[in-house]
């Protein structure tokens, strides 16, 4: 009998036992490695979109896998509820003010990165919500430097993480530009109630008021000129009268004796039924009217200047927003132009050696 047939039972026994032992060892190692008998702490996060997460996705901290996503569900408020566990030995890393970041790769294999709170605190209680990287609270904490944010390790994820906000900003800028254009169009058509329309309407009414004020000023100036002519005529007549009076005062037989005469000019002047007094009063009234017109014009100008001062910040803000939008657009275009994934890389430049050689460069 052949040896293998004589020891067939032993060979089969070893064959089966070794396989079973290997299978048991594998199961034990799996249980140990996958922590079947260790405790996990569950937390959750609310995100907007479930496309970048999946059940079983790793939760990492400084490159170490510290947990797994266990479930994803849609809440009544249309948020995506992502439940994940943190392993017992890493629970101390989940400090207060910790946040999570979902890092997805276009080639698959995304992960949730835990960014630890900066201040050493006791761990977050189990079943707490951990804010996501882009949430308002996380933004505040990051701005206040209360979170330790590390750079993503995956270069593609980094590029995607950089491109995505740029595209988002570009979308926002384009939307703002379109909105601004529409607003300006509507404002120019007089169909808008926005700030630009208010400014333009204010400018239009201001121009109309300025025109009216200018018209009023010209009317006042014309009136004042007419009054001034009358006053000058009166002054001329007064001057000529004074000259005649002076001449007569010089004459010893002239004015003085006649003035002193009971039927002379002074008596006549004092008894002229207020003709001269009325003339003086009329001149003064015309001057008052002229001054009042000038004062009204100056008030109008003052109001117009004040209105321009109040409208100045709005105009300045509008110009600043436009300039910022153009700068962002320029940055995006530069980024797209420099992105080798989109443009096929930087073309190699072949250097053309110069055929000209100076006498000094020549070798002897």
């Amino acid at each position: 009998m052949k040896l293998r047939y004589r020891f067939a039972n032993q060979a089969v026994g070893v064959f089966i036992l070794l396989a079973i032992a290997a299978a048991v060892a594998l199961l034990v190692l799996m249980g140990s490695n996958q922590r079947w008998f260790r405790r996990n702490y569950e937390y959750y996060a609310l995100i907007d979109d479930a496309r970048d997460v999946s059940v079983g996705m790793a939760v990492t901290f400084r490159g170490f896998t510290i947990g797994r996503v266990t479930s994803i569900s849609l809440t009544a408020a249309n948020n995506v509820d992502v439940r994940f566990t943190i392993q017992e030995e890493y629970i101390e890393q989940v400090r207060q003010r910790s946040i999570i970041q979902i890092v997805s790769s276009p080639l698959g294999g995304g992960q949730i990165v835990l960014h630890q709170g900066r201040a050493p605190t006791p761990p977050l209680p189990e079943a707490s919500r951990i804010p996501t990287y882009d949430s308002k609270e996380a933004l505040q904490w990051r701005t206040a430097n209360e979170v330790i944010v590390l750079r993503a390790a995956d270069p593609i994820a980094q590029i995607v993480a950089q491109v995505e906000p740029i595209l988002l900003n570009l979308d926002i800028v384009m939307a703002n530009v379109v909105e601004l254009t529409d607003e300006i169009n509507l404002a120019l058509l007089g169909q808008s109630a926005g700030p630009v329309a208010g400014i333009l309407t204010g400018l239009e009414s201001t121009v109309a008021e300025v025109e009216r004020a200018v018209a009023r000023v010209s009317v006042v100036i014309d009136s004042a000129a007419a009054q001034a002519d009358l006053v000058l005529e009166d002054l001329n007549s007064i001057t000529s009268n004074l000259e005649a009076t002076t001449a007569q005062l010089r004459d010893p037989t002239g004015l003085v004796p006649r003035l002193l005469d009971p039927s002379g000019s002074i008596a006549t002047l004092l008894d002229d039924d207020n003709v001269l007094f009325d003339q003086i009063t009329g001149t003064v009234a015309a001057l008052d009217l002229t001054i009042a017109g000038l004062s009204q014009t100056l008030d109008e100008l003052s109001r117009f200047t004040a209105y321009l001062n109040t409208a100045q910040p709005q105009i300045a803000t509008l110009l600043e927003e436009g300039r910022a939008a153009l700068n962002t657009g320029q940055d995006v275009l530069l980024g797209l132009r420099n992105n080798p994934l989109l443009r096929g890389g930087i073309p190699p430049v072949r250097e053309q050696p110069s055929t000209f050689q100076g006498i000094r460069d020549g070798e002897f």
Binding site: R4, A23, L26, N33, A153
Partner: protein, 260 residues
């Protein structure tokens, strides 16, 4: 009218054969239950079946699984790290070796080696009237000839699948040492952290089902020979062809069940 008659006749014949096959399988399962309680008479047949099907096929299985593990690692490590996805090599190893190729390749090797042997062996016994002799002496040929082969092939396929996994995953580690040397602790940690219990269960279920299919088909075709030795090669060819077809269909169904 004659064509319709022929079609009807063939359909009835097919249904009858299918019903006969189902009855054959049920009878094997019924006799297997009895074999477990009283196996003294045929224990040696079972041992020899495992020896021929399992132990003797171990070198073939080990060589193939080592080679496949090596190829997966070489291909994976040359492509995946370029995209920063080197960790995916463990997922690929588990999907390919444990979940898919392990059970199906093992089953194909067993079908090619042992399925043909069983079909021709039983066919020869029919031709040489040994089956009639068993029946004449009151021995149930299903219990004494078919059941040990059924259990032996099923157990052997299951165990060979375990060895395929062991050698496949170990072989990939050995090749990793040449391509991208890493410590065994790191490799085993990555592998054990990725493999899931459901992967192992799926692999084991597949290997048991495949082993049963191979033994059912081989014994069925072996005992289907009627009188001539020239029928034996035909039965062997049919055994292999039907086994491969059923194995691939069963693999598709079980994989579908896994993902449901």
């Amino acid at each position: 009218m004659r064509v319709v008659e022929q079609i009807g006749s063939r359909a009835i014949d097919r249904v009858a054969r299918a019903l006969y096959a189902i009855g054959f399988v049920v009878e094997i399962l019924r006799q297997t239950g009895r074999f477990v309680t009283n196996r003294r008479a045929t224990a040696k047949v079972l041992t020899m079946q495992i020896l021929f099907t399992g132990v003797d096929a171990l070198n073939v299985i080990a060589t193939i699984s080592l080679g496949i593990g090596a190829v997966i690692v070489i291909q994976g490590l040359s492509i995946l790290p370029q995209f920063g996805q080197g960790q995916l090599i463990y997922n690929i190893l588990i999907v390919v070796i444990t979940r898919e190729l392990g059970p199906i390749l093992t089953a194909l090797i067993v079908a090619a080696r042992s399925g043909t042997a069983i079909a021709s062996d039983l066919g020869n016994m029919v031709v040489s009237h040994e089956i009639e002799a068993y029946t004449a002496t009151g021995i149930n040929p299903i219990r004494h000839l078919v059941v040990p082969r059924f259990i032996g092939v099923t157990v052997s396929t299951f165990v060979l699948n375990l060895y395929f996994n062991i050698f496949g995953l170990a072989g990939s580690f050995l090749v990793t040492q040449f391509v991208n040397p890493i410590s065994f602790a790191e490799y085993s940690s990555g592998l054990l952290g990725t493999i899931a219990l459901v992967d192992i269960v799926s692999s084991c279920v597949k290997s048991v089902v495949f082993g049963a299919i191979i033994s059912f088909v081989a014994t069925f075709h072996g005992l289907a020979i009627e009188r001539s030795s020239t029928e034996i090669p035909v039965a062997v060819i049919k055994s292999v062809g039907h086994s491969v077809t059923l194995l691939i269909l069963a693999n598709a169904v079980l994989t579908l069940v896994y993902y449901l």
